[in-house]
Symmetry: C2
Subunit: 202 residues, 2 copies
Amino acid sequence: MRIITIEREFGSGGRELGKRLADSLGIPCYDQELIDEVVKLHNLNPEYIEHISESDIRTVYPRTIGHRFSSMRAVANDSIKVAASQKKVIERLASQGDCVLVGRGADVILKDQKPFRIFVYADQVSKIDRCLTRSEKGENKNEILRQMKRIDKNREIYHELLSDTKWGGKENYHLCVNTSGQEIKSLVPALTSYIEQWFQNH
Amino acid sequence: MRIITIEREFGSGGRELGKRLADSLGIPCYDQELIDEVVKLHNLNPEYIEHISESDIRTVYPRTIGHRFSSMRAVANDSIKVAASQKKVIERLASQGDCVLVGRGADVILKDQKPFRIFVYADQVSKIDRCLTRSEKGENKNEILRQMKRIDKNREIYHELLSDTKWGGKENYHLCVNTSGQEIKSLVPALTSYIEQWFQNH
């Protein structure tokens, strides 16, 4: 079974890389689809789930245990419920066959299945450029910087919750790819060969 | 101009990868050759240079400035002289044309030439296995572990001396390659493609 997981810094193009690698390998890529799957399980509103996924888990859990506002406790419980569902969904998707999974801690959730683990990163200038180019809401540079910091921090915290290894620590990945100044598309053929060879060796 | 620099953890197979990549790209690889070049410049004994290169630079410099044993001061001066000569040699070699340079801080020494920078690493089990296999002196596991720790520490210190960036910090490399359980040879075709594509983009 070939499972490829991609963790990525916000704006580094990891999601695009995941989709393109999956296409190149002829296997599915799961990312937004995971959320949709969770939505089906929970019958929640997609925007709500999106919000929960990107909210700072640490601010609502576990510090809110015993919090005087019951609404905060509800949000905390929902965050954990969503994360637990995402985990189950990731396990279920990976059990169905070869795939690329982007984010959501799939690398640590699926560690027993020995996925090929990629970390995608870039320098700040490149990440901001990429975000400005793809932005639909027309955020400015400062808004993107704040968003970047918040989302990456949340990814790190989410990883901390699932594992005792460090998010982005190169020792936890098979390959760390710096996309600074790179067109994602151009990286795909060589990375596809690298992954195919890796699975032949394992 | 295509300059590829390889920094590597001791036992990760970085040197073999450098030589194989250079062969695959049809360009020279400089490693031990650098020392030989320095030897010519200094008319020193090769074993002596090898010893200096791997000795802990920090223990002899700059703490030995003003040291009461003049012999220690001489060693310190020689370490610095050797390092300064290596730097000049690296600059000269890189100015001659496309090449792969393994170690010796070539990545930071040549930063203005914009080399493609690779960091090669592996888990400890793989590194020890690789060392045991290639060992000519028949060291045991503990001896290799001590050697590994000492040499990697020296590489880190040497890097510190030349640059304010962190040795092995993924942000300082274009690609970080984990060779755990991998045959180096098998990684070469895909990495060659990756590097060729990278230079086309730059």
